[in-house]
Symmetry: C2
Subunit: 210 residues, 2 copies
Amino acid sequence: MILNFNVENFVKDFEKYCHKVKKKEFAKNEVITTYIEKRNQFCILVNGNADLVRYDFNGNRTIIEHFSKNDIFGEVFYTVTTNNELLVEARNKCEVLIYSYNDIHNKCKNNCKFHQILSEHLPELILNKVTDLNMRVELLTKRSTRDKLLGYFSFLSKRNFNKTIVLPFSLTDLADYLSVDRSAMMREIRLLKEDGLIEKNGNIITLLYK
Amino acid sequence: MILNFNVENFVKDFEKYCHKVKKKEFAKNEVITTYIEKRNQFCILVNGNADLVRYDFNGNRTIIEHFSKNDIFGEVFYTVTTNNELLVEARNKCEVLIYSYNDIHNKCKNNCKFHQILSEHLPELILNKVTDLNMRVELLTKRSTRDKLLGYFSFLSKRNFNKTIVLPFSLTDLADYLSVDRSAMMREIRLLKEDGLIEKNGNIITLLYK
DNA sequence: GTTTTTCTGTTGCAAAAGCAACAAAATGGT
DNA sequence: ACCATTTTGTTGCTTTTGCAACAGAAAAAC
C-alpha cells in the first residue's frame, strides 16, 4: 500500500497518543481477528505477514487480501456480506496494533491525537483499499488461469518497476488468492515457462514478454 | 446502495449549490464517461441504468458494476490499475450530474454548499463502494458457475428481504457480470431448476431452498 | 404494424480446470 | 543433525466450462 500517511511514524509513538490502543503479538498460524463478530477492530500490522482468509462450505480456502508491514485492516474496511468465516491469520510472527472503536468517525472522548490523525486519514486509507479491491476484481474477472497468473505477475511487475518479481506468498497460497485449483495452476505455470513467457526460480519470476 | 446521505434531495437543488455541476442526458448505449483519460469526473446517476464495463483483448466483456437511480460513480471510486478500456455505458436513457474536480478533498474555491456536502459524505460514499466491491470479490472467488449464481441470487434476496427477486439486468449481462460464459450459465440455470433449487419466470427468480 | 435487432434457450464438441494421489524437495522445530 | 511437516511438481482421469452455431421469442426501431 502506498500512502501519504506515514504509518511507520504514526505507529512508533502510539503510546503517547492513546492508551486504548494495544500492541499484541501473534505466532505463526494464530488468528489475529475475525470479521464475523462485530467487535469493531481496527488493526495495523507493525511487523510480519498475515492474510484475510475465507473458508467456504466446501472447504475451499480463499485468500481475500494479503497484508505485510504497515498494512491496515479491520472491520471498517470490510462490511461483511457473507455467511462464511472471515479470519485474519498470521503467516509468521506478527506484531499488531489493535484498537476497538465504537464509532471511528466520531472523535475520541479523550480527543487524543491517535484518533485525530486516524480520522483525518481514514478516507485516504479506505481509498487505498478500494484500489486494492479494484485490482482484485480485475484479476478475478479474467476468464482463464493463465490470464489470472499473467495479470497478477504484471501487476506486481508494474508496482515495483521491475520485470523480475518476488511472489509475496507460496504457490499454494497464490492458488488460493487467484481462486483456482493448485495443480491446475502449477500446470499452467509450466506451460507459461514452455511458451517462453516467464522464467521461474523458486518464488522469483521474470516476465519475458513485451 | 443504502446511504444516510440523501442523494435524491441533494440532486434536486444542485443548481443552487454549484454552477460547475452540469446535468447531461445520454441515450441508450451512449458512453457516459471513461475511466482511462484522467478527467476526474464525479457523477451521480439521476435517472436510468448504466454499467461500468471492461472490454479485454480477447473481446470479452465484463460488467464491473451496475448503476441505477441515485448511484454514484467516477474516477474517485476507481483508481485505474488496468490496461483495458473501462467505460460507463447507458443501458437506457440516462440523466447524469457531472462534476469535474481538481481535488475533491479540498474545498471548492467558491466554498459552495455542493462541495461542502460532498466532501462531508465522501467517506460514507466510498465505504459503500467498498461494501459493493467486497460482495463482488466474494462472488467472483466462488469456484463454480452454480455457486456464483446462487451467491448472487441470495445476495439480492437478502438485500430485499424476499425469496423472489427481479434480476436488474438481462441474462446476457448477468453472465458478463459473473464473468462466465453465457451458454454455460444458461445450462446451469436449467440444472438449478431441475434440481428444484429455483423457479424462474423471465427475469424473476424465486429461491426454493432454506 | 412490420421489420430488424437483440435476447433466450439449447446442443455437440473441444478445451480448460478440478480432483486425487504421490514422490521429491524444502522448510521448520527441537 | 534429525525428524516431521509443508510445499512443490507431476500425472491420469473426471467434470465443468467455453465455443460456435442455430432457432424461436421478445423487444426495439421505424
